[in-house]
């Protein structure tokens, strides 16, 4: 699997660290809504198909990347800087919604 880091170019997956589901929406820090926090911390999609993911180029520039990967083929259709574009590039899910 190759991930094309916008800084460093196409690099082998071994240079990257998976940093979790990119569909998470962190609730307002002051929020005490347990449903929202539970969804953020625990609810995960497990799609057979396109999936939003956060990868860190840990063995390179250390930037976090918002990656859309097909879980069936490992095909990566989009790589963007997470800090510029936020997590998702492919349909975000409402907090608390069932997978």
């Amino acid at each position: 699997m190759l991930i094309t880091c916008p800084y460093c170019g196409p690099r082998d997956v071994s240079e990257f660290a998976y940093q979790g589901d990119g569909n998470r929406t962190r609730p307002d820090p002051a929020s005490t809504d347990p449903e929202a926090w539970n969804a953020y911390v625990y609810d995960r999609l497990n799609p057979a198909g396109l999936h939003n993911e956060i990868w860190q180029h840990a063995g390179g520039c250390r930037a976090h990347l918002a990656v859309v990967r097909d879980t069936l083929t490992h095909e990566i259709s989009s790589v963007r800087f997470a800090r510029e574009h936020g997590a998702p590039a492919h349909g975000r899910r409402k907090p608390g919604a069932k997978a």
């Binding site: 940093q19 962190r26 820090p29 347990p34 926090w37 911390v41 860190q56 930037a63 976090h64 490992h74």
Partner: protein, 998 residues
């Protein structure tokens, strides 16, 4: 002359004689022979014993699909089992032995298994040994006992115990076009791609390029096919953009068009070339792949089809044409398609007598009749072989009229003497790699085979792989595939090369099995018979995946290359469904066995780097016993002569509390947190407040995870308004860095903060004890270190022995203590100056054990207590949870489960029987040695406390504080340690902290 070697012909070097040993007997062969061809040439027909029944087995094929003739190759002390003799190239000194026989191949005592064959049918092991037996002989335990015995009797080769001295290496390669297979189609594809300028890799698993061109006997454009092939290879070699890999099996097709291949560099030589590895593993990233992997001829299923002397027709032809070896003198043929007739003619031309051709079809084409005549064979259409004669060697076959429609024979059987029976049951394209790449195969009723679907995203097929069995068309497909793979537009018109003889009809009769009395094998390697498949169906196995696992069909080292389709056909018939509805299994890597050595290559032994502190050499020179903590090496104790570990740490900790001690703390994680929003950032990541921390002061901080559990702790020093130095625990340094980077990059990209890991840039020494301040004062210049200049948690800058240092007064040991940081390059210099300054005071260096002891006495938590399950309140750190601001984990830390009563809380334990306690022991109210139960919690850390003169421990115990002053017991059945303890506060020593505040 060997008994079975033809007087001429073949692609072997008859002038080069090679000597090798098989089962202790010396044989000779020629350059170009495989072990199989050389042994056949010597008249050897028995190669091994079968997996379950220990039936004698010969050689069935001439290639990588060989299920029977598996041998163990010996290289010095190293044994490599389960290698097909068809894949072993002979060389001087080659030593191989047969497998699964005792005491010898010819006389095997376990062959008796076949008399009781009924009892070793499908699922026999599971039913018999795992079923409900009586008494102690039941269930898993009994199975495990029997398994050992069964494994010895049933099985394949045995691996050795000697370490492998061979060298293996790995390569990464990139190309525009990878061509897998160098038969006519593959060669054409590689040539066309190379001519268009593409970077090409051509991989061939055999020792020579050309595939079927080496033995088909065809003429391509007027030249012998083998000459045509070597001409093309010559052209390819002349291209600078082509890499030719022979003896290279492409075994895995992964995502992103990444393919794995293994090149057998040295197996065919008696000694490896200088610097050459034995195997080389290739990871190939190809823009496009041409699959020209050919097809396998399928066996037919009939009684006695496994007797030595029964061979695939194409294999027999290959032995005759490529190796100059006749597999028999009197050869019978059994076929359901035309291709075997070519084999019959080739064998006849090479000198064998073709005694009969039995064709399952009621009638055959004129072309076939002509070939039968050419072979001098009696042609029996509508006939089948219903049995074979002979012991360890075929002596005859039983022929009977046969109805292809019903699959059974009728009428009188006839015996024909033959020492070889060649069989063709049709052809299965080698679609394994396409299947690995995710392609779903399509059933062809015409070819009675699974074909690859339309070309996939990264690959395109050519030749027999596509079900194209005409060489002319295969070459044409190869050229087209090569063009397409190289990104060239297709040609509008194509001319087929001129190939002689003309192709035969490739479509077989849809017959896979001849039903008659006797064991008829589907999977030769795992001894799975047609009746086993039917039994599995009777017992309710409907899915092909279940059938496979229950009968183990196709699960041996050959991965069912020949047996898959016949097994499926028999299952389909039993289910009354057409084959495509039963489906096929998906092929998975590896296509053929891969040496583990090649996968590991140079990555063996200790793969982790060693991290050493700047003072590492000093520790070694001063008697430290080092301890590995993650990647770091840290002094455990500085033991004196004859001192035990406990004596050493008790002395070190005692001396520290008495006068002073010094410890290397360079391994602590250190992160520079800088920028205008650094304080705000720390407020968000720590549970307590850092924005109020004055410049020149440090504060102890606690981090939670998002789920509200404790993550890490450490002190953070404010060096400037926008400049903090964060310390983390040694073990979590990397994780904390990644955690902070994530939040900064993904969650709060608006914060202006920069993070830099500076763990390796600073050397740290912690000096503590009642005399620590005096020692420091005697060697530090440029700053005062008294209480006023350097209060608790204060930071000063100064110099020690000319080196700049940063000193923070903080304490882990509970003593008046200081952490002295210097640039890593000055680490040893400053350390030695401190040691020198401490000498008049009797200061000692201390290691991790004493450090641990003093922290247990103080009740400080470390990774043993911050175990990913404990909350801040569990550890009595609730006071660090700010109510004034949200922070990571603040929303989740008050969840029901985290504030419920009965959670494990940090307590202290004192051993009441004056015996040591140990980590992991359970705490119970009542001791029950016979049936330990009722755990209240467990010990996290234990030591002998010199300050208390007692064995003490920290523990996580349900109820925690409420149990202070109560008695309990340790229950440690693994180490047989039971005994009374008192539960106390975790602050064993100086609970008010008078000593560190001075």
């Amino acid at each position: 002359m060997s008994p079975r070697r033809t007087p001429s012909g073949g692609r072997i070097d008859r002038l080069r004689t090679i000597r090798f040993i098989f089962d202790g007997t010396a044989y000779t062969g020629h350059q170009g022979d495989t072990l199989a061809s050389a042994l056949l040439a010597n008249g050897v027909s028995l190669f091994g014993r079968s997996f379950k029944y220990h039936r004698p087995r010969g050689v069935l094929t001439a290639g990588v699909d060989e299920p029977n003739a598996l041998v163990t190759v010996l290289r010095g002390e190293v044994r490599e089992p389960n290698i097909p003799a068809t894949m072993v190239e002979i060389h001087d000194g080659l030593t191989a032995v047969s497998q699964n026989r005792f005491p010898s191949l010819a006389y095997d005592v376990s062959a008796i298994n076949q008399l009781g064959g009924k009892f070793i049918s499908a699922g026999f092991y599971y039913k018999t040994f795992m079923g409900p037996l009586i008494g102690p002989l039941k269930g898993t335990r009994f199975w495990m006992l029997c398994e050992k015995i069964i494994r010895r009797a049933a099985g394949l080769g045995r691996a050795g115990h000697a370490p492998d001295p061979s060298r293996y290496e790995r390569m990464n390669a990139f190309c525009d076009v990878l061509v897998v297979g160098s038969g006519p189609a593959g060669l054409a594809a590689a040539l066309e791609a190379a001519q268009s300028g593409a970077r090409v890799i051509l991989a061939e698993l055999d020792p020579c390029f050309g595939g079927s061109a080496n033995w088909s006997g065809e003429k391509i454009d007027g030249e012998p096919a083998a000459t045509w092939a070597s001409d093309v290879v010559g052209e390819l070699k002349a291209h600078g953009n082509v890499r030719l890999l022979k003896r290279t099996t492409v075994w895995g097709y992964y995502d992103g068009n990444t393919l794995a291949a293994i090149e057998r560099v040295g197996d065919h030589k008696d000694a490896p070339a200088r610097g050459a590895p034995r195997h080389r593993h290739w990871t190939i990233r190809a823009k496009s792949v041409v699959l020209a992997t050919g097809a396998f001829e399928r066996p037919l299923v009939f009684p006695g089809n496994d007797r030595p002397g029964v061979m695939m027709a194409s294999a027999a032809m290959r032995y005759a044409n490529q190796y100059g070896v006749l597999p028999g003198e009197k050869i019978a043929v059994l076929a359901n398609n035309d291709s075997a007739y070519r084999a019959a003619v080739a064998l006849a031309k090479a000198g064998a007598r073709i005694v009969a051709i039995a064709d399952l079809r009621p009638d055959v084409s004129a072309a076939c009749r002509k070939l039968a005549t050419e072979a001098g064979a009696e042609l029996l259409t509508g006939h089948a072989v219903i049995g074979t004669e002979g012991g360890k060697k075929l002596s005859g076959v039983k022929l009977a009229p046969f109805s292809a429609a019903s699959g059974v024979s009728k009428g009188n059987a006839r015996d024909i003497g033959a020492d070889c029976l060649v069989v063709s049951g049709g052809w299965s394209p080698t679609i394994h790699l396409a299947s690995q790449a995710g392609a779903r195969p399509l059933w062809s009723d015409d070819l009675q085979a699974f074909l690859p679907p339309e070309a996939g995203k990264g690959w395109i097929g050519a030749g027999a792989f596509n079900g194209t069995f005409s060489t002319a068309e295969a070459i044409s497909e190869g050229f087209a595939a090569g063009r397409k793979a190289a990104g060239q537009p297709a040609l509008e018109t194509t001319t087929l090369p001129d190939v002689e003889p003309a192709p035969l009809d490739p479509n077989p009769a849809p017959v896979f099995e001849i039903k008659a009395k006797g064991k008829a094998f589907v999977d030769f390697q795992h001894d799975v018979t047609a009746d086993d498949v039917r039994l599995a169906h009777l017992e309710g196995f409907v899915s092909v995946e279940h059938l496979k696992r229950y009968t183990t069909l196709g699960m041996a080292t050959d991965q069912g290359k020949g047996s898959n389709v016949p097994g499926l056909a028999i299952m389909a018939e039993a289910l009354g469904k057409p084959i495509p509805e039963v489906g096929t299994t998906r092929f998975r890597p590896p296509y053929a066995p891969v040496s583990v050595g090649a996968l590991a290559a140079e990555r063996f032994g200790d793969l982790k780097p060693d991290r050493l502190t700047p003072m590492h050499d000093w520790h070694l020179e001063n008697g430290a016993t080092m301890y590995s903590a993650g990647l770091w090496f840290r002094p455990m104790i500085y033991g004196g002569p004859g001192e035990t570990i406990e004596q050493a740490y008790v002395r070190e900790a005692g001396a520290t509390r008495e006068t002073a001690g010094i410890v290397d703390v360079s391994t602590l994680g250190k992160i520079a947190v800088q920028g205008p929003d650094a304080a705000e950032f720390l407020d968000r990541v720590y549970s307590n407040v850092f924005s109020t921390l004055p410049v020149g002061k440090a504060r102890y901080g606690l981090m939670l995870r998002e789920d509200g559990l404790v993550f890490d702790d450490g002190t953070t020093w404010r060096l400037g308004e926008h400049d903090f130095l964060m310390t983390t625990t040694t073990a979590n340094a990397g994780k904390v860095m990644q955690h902070l980077e994530y939040f900064l990059d993904v969650v709060w990209p608006d914060l202006k903060v920069h993070l830099t890991s500076v763990t390796d840039q600073w050397a740290g020494a912690a000096i503590g004890g009642p005399r620590a301040r005096e020692i420091l004062a005697s060697c530090v210049t440029g700053t005062r270190v008294d209480n006023e200049a350097l209060p608790f948690m204060g930071i000063v800058h100064g110099e020690i022995a000319g080196a700049p240092v940063m000193i923070c007064r903080l304490s882990f040991s509970g003593e008046m203590a200081f952490e002295v940081y210097s640039g890593a390059g000055h680490g040893t210099h400053v350390w030695e100056a401190l040691i020198e300054a401490g000498k008049p005071f009797g200061m000692v260096p201390y290691g991790l054990e004493a450090l641990g002891t003093m922290r247990i006495e103080k009740g400080h938590v470390t990774g043993a207590e911050i175990d990913g399950r404990t909350s801040a309140r569990d550890l009595h750190l609730g006071w660090m949870l700010s109510k004034k601001k949200p922070f990571i984990g603040s929303a989740m830390m008050d969840r029901e489960g985290l504030s419920a009563s009965g959670r494990l809380e940090l307590v202290g334990l004192i051993s009441l029987d004056n015996r040591p306690l140990s980590g992991g022991a359970h705490i119970v109210e009542e001791v029950d040695t016979a049936n330990p139960h009722g755990s209240l919690g467990h010990i996290t850390a234990a030591c002998f406390s010199p300050a208390l003169g007692k064995y003490i421990a920290l523990a996580l115990v349900s109820g925690g504080k409420a149990r202070h002053g109560k008695r309990a017991h340790v229950s440690d059945p693994l180490r047989n340690r039971f005994g009374p303890v008192e539960i106390v506060s975790h602050h064993f020593f100086d609970p008010e902290g008078k000593r560190m505040h001075g």
